[in-house]
Symmetry: C2
Subunit: 434 residues, 2 copies
């Protein structure tokens, strides 16, 4: 049995063969800088949102090879590599963009400085977490933007891998969702959970009325009753009859929810249930959410499109070696060219607080670019000697950070339609290496 | 700390509130049948592939509430529900399509028979696993089909959640991939793993030659050398110079891989390395794989498109209550209408073995439809009294099953282009319930 907490095997085979090769020829100890960045944003997206940093740091702390993990590598690694792995824990430095920060093409989202042996092993686990969580965070942010202050509940667990679901719920909360249906996310990350009943609960009962009565008995009149199992209009009548005009909410999960919400609002008001909220769900994405802005909808339940990144299920970040023993390095053979050298980023802003550009500069240069009073250096220290630095921002801090970051985006950059990145990335002093 | 093996919290909040409500009004013990099916296949897909059944059965066996899990539910459940959960283990029956089987719209992929309380709790964990693994299995199958016998290596771990990556590697292997880069998948499921080196290994070294020398020293001349870090043609020269004409393979990860593969083949042959294989990678999907059929490519490395389901990251299956105490039930209010009743499926075939249609019938009818000598009843017993039945097919069995199932698909159904399902689904005696 491998240790369930160990992340050591969330690793690609070639990281171990490279380790073995580098140990053998003495290059394993060379001091390296690896950088995580996205060459481009998903088609037409105007910003990316960093997600998963906290999960990532935890995964690196748990990147340890016990007996079971070493045994699993027996056929891949020679004795020298196995013995190196046995004592291994990561001792390098990591700096990066905090969660909830926006990023753009070429933003140095994460910088890992360690020996080659230490850093090369982390490629897969780092990218898995950042690519997944950032993809969900970006889609969720667009939905929050589209909802314009209305409540969003994440309920997509059933549409994605059971563990992705937990991470997706976390990323959605980071982005500003109100709650999640996922109990593990509630337990693991302290995120508010929500939920009342499914159609099966109504079908189980002899009548819709008896189902509503059972739910109100168990959850009180403040609950949300699902009214679209049979006939929505009769469902609403029954709901108010059972729960009274103090009914918390109704949920509509099917049909043309805009039209139905309008009809439901009229009906609820005419029954005196003027305070009863209307929650809609069923294949909503950011465009559907935006299209319902004019309708009397109080909250949205979002599933599939959230957990699949609404068309962009991965953020496409890469982990590239950019410096070896102080010497910038980069692949050269094709369009996939990368910029060598250890880099930093400065986001410049107008006096009004609106972002102007992402300045990516060579961190090894004598002086970083001059920052104005509204400008911000983007990376923060995350790990020193393989341990998380003190006082890292919390999930709540990062939720606020994203809210503020969005305010700084030029107006065009918040449009849902496809377009250019909200601000350009400018590479200052970060010439292509030789 | 919750038990890492427990799957009890991969559950939506509303399943617990329904449990509490049903326990309170006495409906919790009603015998129910829930059915998993897909209303439609992802846009233009011609078949679905069942994945994840084995993971699902294991997850159900581990669906137990210990102290930590119960504590997490304290604010959601009343005392009665908590005490019910404490002793709970699933004791129902499950039948379903085996992994590696094809499915079509309306195919009863899984049938769960248990009390409402037992069955309602499993909705999320069942759907998470089936929707994820089936989505990956279907995309992978299209790639295997497109590769037409050439080797496929799954290397997408870095593009998806770290645990999804393991399940995706398993689904790809089920579909016929040769190997995966994912070490956890190798360890957990006994899938062959593969990998040699990344560009970082070349960049780490003082020269491409010294990197190749290190790799050959560690892995032997049978290894695959990555030749596109600087100049591909010089990279191939150096590779053969270092490893000799017995070099196992070269890998090309960028550029127009079709053109480059042809040039590389000529160059390798002219150097006498006629047995050296050419592996290509870099943003390949089933269409790119198919387009390379005429090129001298010996193997493909596939990443992003595999783990994201190549445009269809979720299978869209639903879990619906279809029968209560022998009475068919179904939602009625909209286009989302479902067919009530406990159902079975028979796939009919011509004498030649080509599939004709998916006949979905009411299992409660006196006699199932008459099956011809080439026809097949699709469900097999999976779980009885909450325990896996003996002699379930293995991953290797199911890999063979899929290979055979594909042979039975009408020719049109194997096209990569968008179209109708490969065979129609016919609902016999499964009328809409009242």
């Amino acid at each position: 049995m491998t240790d369930p907490a160990s992340t050591a095997l969330f690793t690609d085979h070639y990281e171990l063969t490279m380790l073995a090769g580098a140990l053998r020829d003495g290059t394993a100890d060379r001091e390296c800088t690896f950088e995580v960045f996205a060459r481009r944003l998903p088609d037409g997206r105007r910003y990316g949102v960093v997600g998963g940093i906290e999960r990532l740091l935890e995964a690196i702390e748990n990147f340890r090879f016990g007996d079971a993990e070493l045994q699993a590598l027996g056929r891949i690694c020679d004795e020298e590599a196995l013995s190196w792995l046995r004592d291994h824990r990561f001792r390098g430095r990591i700096d990066g963009y905090p969660e909830g920060e926006l990023y753009f093409p070429g933003s140095p989202v994460l910088t890992v400085r360690a020996t080659f042996a230490e850093a090369v092993l982390l490629e897969t686990v780092i990218l898995s977490i950042l690519n997944h969580d950032s993809a969900i965070a970006a889609a969720a942010t667009r939905m929050v933007s589209a909802a314009n202050g209305r409540r969003l509940i994440e309920m997509g667990s059933r549409r994605t891998h059971e563990e992705s679901a937990v991470a997706a719920a976390r990323a959605a909360y980071l982005a500003g969702f109100t709650a999640t249906s996922n109990l593990q996310a509630g337990h693991r990350y302290g995120i508010p959970t929500a939920g009342t009943s499914a159609h099966s609960f109504t079908l189980l009962h002899d009548s819709e009325r008896s189902a509503f009565e059972a739910q109100v008995a168990a959850l009180g009149t403040g609950t949300a009753l699902l009214v679209d199992t049979y006939d929505i209009s009769r469902g609403i009548d029954t709901a108010v009859d059972v729960a009274g005009t103090g009914l918390g909410a109704i949920r509509i999960d099917s049909g043309d929810v805009g039209v139905l919400a309008r009809q439901a609002r009229e009906q609820l008001d005419s029954l005196g249930a003027t305070g009863t909220r209307i929650v809609v769900s069923g294949d909503l994405d950011e465009y559907a959410i935006a299209s319902l802005r004019a309708e009397p909808v109080d909250g949205y339940g979002v599933g599939t499109s959230l957990v699949t990144g609404s068309g962009a299920p991965t953020a496409g970040m890469v982990y590239k070696l950019v410096e070896v023993e102080g010497r910038p390095v980069a692949k050269r053979s094709s369009h996939k060219e990368s910029r060598g050298g250890h880099k930093g980023a400065l986001r410049t802003h107008k006096d009004t607080g609106t972002a102007i550009e992402e300045v990516v500069y060579r961190a090894s240069d004598a002086a970083p670019p001059k920052a104005g009073p509204h400008d911000r250096f983007m990376q923060i220290p995350l790990m020193r000697d393989g341990e998380r630095v003190d006082d890292l921002p919390t999930l709540e801090d990062n939720r606020q950070r994203l809210r503020h970051a969005l305010v700084s985006v030029p107006w065009e950059g918040l449009k849902l339609s496809a377009g250019e990145p909200a601000i350009p990335t400018v590479f200052a002093d970060a010439e292509h290496s030789t």
